[in-house]
Amino acid sequence: MKYSYFPGCSLKGLGRAYEESLLPVMKHLGVELVELDDWNCCGATAYMSVDEAQAAVLAARNLAIAEQTGPQDLLTPCSACYLVLNKTQHNITDFPDIKTAVHRALGTARMTYSGKTNVRHPLDVLVHDVGLDVIKEKVVRPLKGLKVAPYYGCQVVRPYSTFDDDWNPTTMDQLLATLGAEVIHYPLKTKCCGGSLTGTVPEAGLRLTYILLKEAARRGADVVATICPLCQFNLDAYHDQIERRWGPARVPTVYFTQLMGLAFGFPPRQLGLQRNFVPMKELPTERVAG
């Protein structure tokens, strides 16, 4: 199995632990990732607020590179990138004006795009291409007794429910259960974490983060598993401020790939787990073993 790989800016910066855990996990499962040549920022939500046509061009350049160099399945771990690339893909087919603008722009670099790139999320690839059976075989240290709140966030499941239900997605639930973890009923799994508002308008954004954490704590979660670098940052980095405003809600938040890595037996440092503000406790299994 071979995929093009679009890390996105976050995975090179604040979300580097995501990449640090994703790459070894994928490799361990025999999935080959080819980083997209000279990829650029997807445009994200901020760019769309400024100029929609330019945002489409930014995303389209990446889609076009993937189509040209192949493989045409483009693995996109960051939720925002996933949404923006997907949305551009849809818009190019749905709206002739956007298609024209994009083609004109790509033409300046003698590039074309015929719409063949498939934007894929690692969760989708792991559950549907690799398969839970294969993953199960690799589990050497089951996450027994670890209560995990599966948190999908918004932009992977909305507005296009590509590989999972938009209201009650279950792929990560299945994956975590395969790792041996105890997946708790977490009805907030697709609620918004506040996005960039946690930084810009904390009184609004941080409260969303707080509710997510509080509810995870109330339902007895040891850890929140996330699939998005922004969600991870929001749920991890603001505990001080949250505590000051509303009281404690101290549940660590890690990437689902980090949990996979642990179950596969990688040492925590190799998975970037040391980068958390609120560190995850050592695995109960380790405690039992040691």
């Binding site: 976050s10 910066g13 000279d38 330019q54 918004c192």
Partner: protein
């Protein structure tokens, strides 16, 4: 007690504004809005907005351009797409919010001391120059421009980032910047955001 006159006259409407928004790709469904309030009910941030998303839809449809573009609503949208998915009339509300943000930035009539439009502009500026985003540098620029005091409020976090090795100061950039430049130049003036930057 301060009182405020809230009546609107016909002259307050900017005729053609609703048409303009509805002509944006995917936004024509706004015509079907029945004001049910699902968008507001489902929006995690509507509780902080001066006008609820539903009210914004009504105001757009009635051509109240200035009222909409100066509202905090459009800037509080976190693009979680909950409204778009839940809307019983299949209105792409998030996309309408984008269309409104773009116009607010173009016309420079967004709320002044509000950091979000600044973030959007700084973000696009960095992408245009480097092709990629370096988040920590972006946030620093944002704080400097919007609210330098916030830098001190967040010092603890900054330290945390440095401690966890996530504070990146080296600019991420792409190789073929000229290529990207040329592409972006074909759409718009390549300098969206423009002169209201101050």
């Amino acid at each position: 007690m301060q009182i405020k006159r809230t009546i609107k006259y016909e002259a307050d409407r900017v005729r053609g504004f609703s048409k303009e928004i509805m002509s944006v790709s995917g936004c024509e469904q706004l015509q079907s809005c029945i004001q049910c309030g699902t968008c507001s009910g489902t929006c995690p941030l509507s509780i902080y907005m001066d006008f609820s998303p539903r009210q914004v839809m009504a105001m757009v449809r009635a051509d109240f351009k200035n009222e909409v573009l100066t509202s905090t609503t459009i800037w509080l949208c976190a693009s979680c797409y909950a409204c778009t998915v839940e809307c019983p009339r299949k209105i792409r509300i998030t996309d309408i919010m984008y269309a409104l943000k773009q116009r607010a930035i173009q016309e420079g009539i967004y709320p002044r001391r509000f950091p979000i439009p600044v973030l959007a502009r700084e973000f696009s500026e960095m992408v245009r120059r480097k092709g990629r985003i370096t988040e920590t540098l972006l946030v620093m620029r944002l704080f400097l421009k919007a609210n330098w005091r916030a830098v001190f409020a967040s010092w603890r976090q900054g330290l945390g980032l440095i401690r966890t090795g996530r504070f990146v100061l080296r600019h991420e950039r792409i190789e073929r910047r000229a290529e990207l430049d040329a592409m972006l130049a074909t759409v718009g003036d390549g300098k969206a955001g423009g002169k209201e930057a101050s």
